[in-house]
């Protein structure tokens, strides 16, 4: 009796488990669908892409030594059904944009179809394509270019500290309004008469490198407050985007980027941060051995043993927009770092720290070979603030009392 019950139970269970959907695995790409998403071989291999407005001239190659070139125009997406088909076969293409926001597409194939907006995204379905339809085995379309949001900027936290609905940019990635990851599901239904006999699917999706490149494209030529300089930072090549390198030894704080992409453009920021940190540590040791430094009132001040804290390295354009007023900010080029003295902001310890750091950089300017400025609220200190001691009157020039960080970049 037991065996009689167990046998069918075993078969039923196996059948049931096999029929369960395999969650988390990507849907299998059909080998009969040949996909072209980009003229860039690396993007194309990953079925990834960037979206460039028709007729727009953009420069790519962001690093000092990179040979700049014009970024190629948007290649239409071409999905080709490579299998030979008989005359009694009908085809039907379906494009599903994975988000409502990316819905608009420009259909370049000659055949007709209908688009519908669903909560989950936009779906376009072609009519049934029989032998009379030319090129029915090739689906060709373009995504609509992304419009940079918003067009008006306000810097800062906004009223009552609420930053999220104020100003532009985002610290996160794949945010619909700012830096969405575009993706399309493509389905080809193959019919014999009215009966569906095969379904082929494939998936086009921006990878992280192209998401970063798309951010640069979206920010090309923008202005803050509709005035001032235009942002015209070149778009990085895929080869210029790499994994985050380790931070210099003894430098506290953030990695070389806080970006969630976990990728970075490094155009000398690592070496610069290393040089600044090494010289600063050396100076602190020297001054402490000497017993301190003389302030403006010729009074000897103890030099605290505060380290440097890396607050910012490479920023993707959206993050830069969130934090900075500088459309062309060098943080986006991978050539700039911000450092903070590891002491309470605007305390006497931090003032002395910035003073030591400043003197160190000036003494070693040839070796450091870069540009630096002390900043407060993103604005550089004035020349006279390096001499005057007005508020607070403490024997330390005002620039060092007020600074909230030191910005340094390689020479551009």
């Amino acid at each position: 009796m037991g065996k009689q019950i167990l046998r069918p139970l075993f078969f039923i269970s196996i059948t049931f488990f096999l029929s369960l959907p395999c969650k988390g695995q990507p849907s299998a790409f059909s080998r009969h669908l040949n996909v072209t998403t980009s003229a860039n071989p690396e993007s194309n291999a990953a079925q990834s892409f960037v979206i460039v407005k028709e007729g727009e001239i953009l420069i790519e190659g962001i690093k000092h030594d990179s040979a700049q070139q014009r970024l190629g125009q948007q290649t239409p997406f071409v999905i080709e059904y490579t299998k030979e088909i008989q005359n009694d076969i009908n085809l039907q293409w379906i494009i599903k944009a994975t988000d409502i926001k990316h819905g608009s597409i420009k259909m370049l194939s000659k055949f007709k179809g209908n688009g519908r907006l669903f909560y989950s995204g936009y779906r376009w379905t072609s009519e049934m394509l029989d032998t009379s339809v030319l090129d029915r085995q090739r689906l060709v379309f373009r995504p609509k270019p992304f419009k940079h949001q918003p067009t008006i900027y306000k810097k800062g936290r906004g009223p009552h500290g609420k930053r999220s609905k104020y100003g532009g940019g985002t610290r996160e990635i794949d945010v619909k309004k700012y830096n969405p990851k575009y993706a399309y599901d493509i389905t080809l239904n193959v019919f014999r008469g009215e009966k569906r006999i095969f379904t082929h699917t494939t998936h086009l999706e921006m990878d992280r490198k192209d998401m970063i490149r798309q951010e640069y494209i979206n920010h090309y030529n923008i202005k803050r407050y509709n005035q001032g300089e235009r942002g015209n930072i070149p778009v990085p090549l895929r080869s210029e985007i790499s994994k985050v390198p380790p931070k210099p030894d003894l430098l506290e704080g953030n990695p070389l980027t806080e970006s969630e992409y976990e990728l970075v453009v490094n155009d000398g920021m690592l070496e610069l941060a290393d040089k600044i940190n090494k010289h600063y540590i050396k100076s602190i040791r020297k001054l402490r051995a000497k017993g301190g430094l003389l302030d403006l009132n010729k009074k000897k001040r103890k030099v605290p043993d505060n380290k440097l804290w890396l607050s910012s390295g490479w920023r993707n354009p959206e993050r830069n927009e969130w934090y900075s007023n500088a459309v062309n900010g060098n943080h986006q080029r991978g050539g700039a770092v911000d450092v903070i003295i590891m002491a309470p902001a605007n305390s006497i310890e931090s003032s002395i720290g910035y003073w030591v750091l400043w003197n160190t950089l000036m003494e070693n300017r040839k070796e450091i070979d870069g540009y630096w400025q002390l900043e407060k609220n993103g604005v550089p200190m004035k020349t006279r603030e390096y001499r005057l001691d007005i508020e607070p009157k403490n024997g330390i020039p005002d620039a060092f009392d007020k600074a909230d960080h030191l910005h340094a970049n390689v020479n551009y």
């Binding site: 269970s13 800062g156 936290r157 996160e172 804290w309 903070i340 590891m342 305390s347 609220n377 006279r384």
Partner: protein, 304 residues
Amino acid sequence: MEFLMHLIRQTISTQMLITKARKLIAFIMLLTVSTTCLSNAAPRFEDYFQINPGLNIKIANKITSHYLDNKPLSTQHKDELEQLDNSLNKLLSKHTKNPAYWFLKGLNHRNLAAYYHSKKQFKLADEQIQKKNTAYQKAIELDKAELKKLSASIYSTMKFGLPEDLKIQATQQELKLGGSADSESAYWYLHWSNIDQLKKAGRDKEAEQAYRNMQKEMKEQNANMSVYSALNQTIEQTTFNKPTTDKKPETSKAEPPPSKPEHSQKPDKPLDRKMLIITSIVALSLISLISLMIYELKIKRKRK
């Protein structure tokens, strides 16, 4: 610009005003010139202080320019600053309760102090600093009481050189408004500044509470603790003089920040898995029961 003005003058001359079309042209030109002028006017106050609390923006922009410009200070500057002070006094007689005007007044006194200091007239500079502090005190009191017109950036500007208690108030208001610096780190350092000031003022309990608030906020904001635990430890050691308990965590030899799951997947992922497991167990047991029943029924029929 002069050329355009000349053109306008010509356009509006009596002879030209005869025809309607010419009137229209004159109007369009006027409109173009005025909008060009407006768009060229740098909104410096709003840009830098991140707020427009409904004040005379022309005066506000002038004072901000004097504060931010990196030019050597001349007698002409002084005259202009004194004129601005007069204009502000007139405005303040009408808007006594507007903290933004009190802030502007303080900022203008600060500009004057910079002028006197650069001319080595230290006594006059000190007088201006006193006036500045009084104006800032008024601004902070009014803003705290009801109006809430001032931004974090304004508080960040005001806090320097204020007496201890007022400086703490300004720092705390700046914190409440989310800080004004341009990085996440700078915001946590502002917290540290608040804690440190309270501690130095002998307000130990408040300092400890401020530290707890900072940590709570770090948790709420999902701050990267592989980075910020080093900061917390330093605060404990230096500000609270607590001995080091354990070894500092390796603060990332540039360990990339822990990857956060993407937005859309955040709430879905664990829920999906749970649902899948529950539905599979329920379905499996149902199917097993049904199949068992069918099987037993078949056997019974056979026996019959």
